[in-house]
Symmetry: C2
Amino acid sequence: MAKLTKREENYSQWYNELVVKADLAENSDVRGCMVIKPYGYAIWEKMQAALDKMFKDTGHSNAYFPLFVPKSLFEAEEQNAEGFAKECAVVTHYRLKNDPKKKGKLIVDPDAKLEEELIVRPTSEAIIWKTYKNWIQSYRDLPILINQWANVVRWEMRTRLFLRTAEFLWQEGHTAHATKVEAIEETERMINVYSEFAEKFMALPVLKGLKTPAERFAGAIETYCIEALMQDGKALQAGTSHFLGQNFAKAFDVKFANKEGSQDYVWATSWGVSTRLIGALIMAHSDDFGLVLPPQLAPIHVVIVPIYKGEEQLAQISEIALNIKSSLEKQGLTVKFDNRDTHKPGFKFAEYEMKGVPVRIAIGPKDLENGSVEIARRDTLSKETKPMNEVVDYITELMVEIQESIFSKAKKFQESNTHEVDNFEDFKSKLNETGGFISAHWDGSPETEELIKKETKATIRCIPLNNPREEGVCVRSGKPSSQRVIFAKSY
Amino acid sequence: MAKLTKREENYSQWYNELVVKADLAENSDVRGCMVIKPYGYAIWEKMQAALDKMFKDTGHSNAYFPLFVPKSLFEAEEQNAEGFAKECAVVTHYRLKNDPKKKGKLIVDPDAKLEEELIVRPTSEAIIWKTYKNWIQSYRDLPILINQWANVVRWEMRTRLFLRTAEFLWQEGHTAHATKVEAIEETERMINVYSEFAEKFMALPVLKGLKTPAERFAGAIETYCIEALMQDGKALQAGTSHFLGQNFAKAFDVKFANKEGSQDYVWATSWGVSTRLIGALIMAHSDDFGLVLPPQLAPIHVVIVPIYKGEEQLAQISEIALNIKSSLEKQGLTVKFDNRDTHKPGFKFAEYEMKGVPVRIAIGPKDLENGSVEIARRDTLSKETKPMNEVVDYITELMVEIQESIFSKAKKFQESNTHEVDNFEDFKSKLNETGGFISAHWDGSPETEELIKKETKATIRCIPLNNPREEGVCVRSGKPSSQRVIFAKSY
């Protein structure tokens, strides 16, 4: 297996190669759309399972709404429509017919033109709020707490596997509430769920905060986000939770009779994370040898590789390996015994390093003599020899340690790459030399935000929640500011 | 809650009303597309979980392929293209723009026309085999055993909730093999998985068989199916597994080096079941009071309804109810305690009957005195009074009994509605009077099959697997026949 480009040489190329070599995904024949391969999809399934449980534990149910949004619904909430109109796939016809000029070829049947075009959903607020209108008459019908696992399409011009693709998989929560307070509580509850998921499962420390108006979701009153820092010093938005106010209720005329008997517009939230998280997971932890996966999301926790000469040795090793496998599986771990005779151990070692399997056990002739096995950690690349009878306990504990260790490494990285700067020269030099989160004063105006973006490519990633008040002056305009915000270049 | 139309009066209307009243699904604003509501989706999640485990236990992995199929790929396998071209959604543009004539309105941007149209997948053979081409070089790359959970779109003109919708959810397995024998084994393995799933989880007896050439999947060499009988005597195709031969490998030029070192085309299968199964589940078991759900797929197994006057009685009942709930949950059952004070017990009884909750426990003042509870079975509508301390064991066993009982009722129905007929008069009268599966001799010609379809609306549902040989004459043509096949009107 050819080696990866090193991160230091070309981080972007390292990422692109890694996604393919670790067998996670590849580009398809459809512009901007990816194929998620079984190993990559298995990570997504682990993410889905964990998130789905967290959603259900917070009172949500899953449902499913149509893939298509009729144009008239799509345009109902103007800001939202404006935000997505420029990048959407439009269905205009419902039939092909044989090309009279070329046998075996098909053409769009002009007689099968739709009366009204259908937009492939870039997000589902429009179709869902049109549906909620029929479900909501009184406060007794509220709250509605629904999530949907679905594919969405945004016609992005520049795409990268997982990070930005024309079609991607995600979940989108859409909730309806009787009061503003309740809706804001829900918005905050879900950003906390995302942050807990990122830290506990992805081992990814995140900053929680609010987006500036310029960076808000189209149609939102307030967008909460979690922002993670990648190893190249760029930020990645890992999840968003939107307080939509009454915008969609007004666009679709969704009113309810409140407890006092008068009519009021319903309050809304929406929140989502996507397969982009897999991109974040890869970029946050992996190294020049390949993927590093936290055990909580690893499709395979342990791989056992036999090192042997001849069938007899293999048989002896297999017996031990299968015993260890079955004991570890009883602890809830997924174990692969790779006894392929078509590949050498060294090849297998490199392959599982590339795929980020957290722990590798190697068993060879010396181990048979000594009653030991060699245990290698993927995250630290360290090896230890352990007596066979201690292996199961040791590895079970090791999984917890690896998970914590990957998190704390990422946390330290985040901390040492968060820089307070107080003037624009420092701002620019930090940004270009080390990157990272730049904590700086900003005057609060969209004009200054836009200027900084133009001049440095840095955007305001978020205004941290519970941000301490601090008097200062804006790094760009010199105008007064009462708090620091987080800038970064971003994915 | 208004009562359902009775099945005898109008079976079709009964079904339509039931789907809506049981809160399973509803029509959306998008022609032919449904909204699957949380209660309906919960049934789908149960189906998915069971099937997904069966797929993984038989060696399959999940992956994800693009929603769109470029037209040139779509038309590559001619039969398949022919079969789906007339009912597909076509994306022709990738952008909207503001309507210069009407403020706030959007129009399709003519400058954003795609060079090549994209078909919204009606099934994914084309895009998947184009992808497999790059994955397969030698026999060592085979078999590929992949499944995908996805949405697909077929532009059906007449749609009905779950049974036939323009967009539906399904899984599609796509496997690649080195030999014909292996591919046929896989095709048969998966029809057996479907049949086991239908019988064990859906409590739905099915006939396994082969489709005639006229009824085969477009592009298949052989289509295996499972056919179930609905209460109105019509058949419903509940799942299919296709042996695709080398058709797709040839269309996409997918060859591999076999063990002997020569190049050969890869052998293929595909197999799928969809949200249509929910329609089958509803129609097979439900009655004039509403849904009847087998416990294996019921989102809620037990509902507890308190019957009380005043807060004090409610408090006493609640304590008992919550104890029972927690004990049943320890047995893996899902239990709802409905203590809403906005609805009377009678209303709740009717609601849970409509929703098909398998067991209802009612606890009232007399029960408090006697230390008993009332247990009602949804499937038989029978009630029993049981001592409180026996409730948990009793209900745990009852779940198994209900599951079996629903199955054997359906099995008896299937048996008593399978009719051997030996002439065309009997054929027509059975078909019109009682419906059901008609077992009759057929001469094996597509012409006779077509004639019978035109004259009676009955189609050949399948040629049963392991069909006994029996000399006879075709009911329609009088020509010789060596086996009976199964005819029915169908959904």
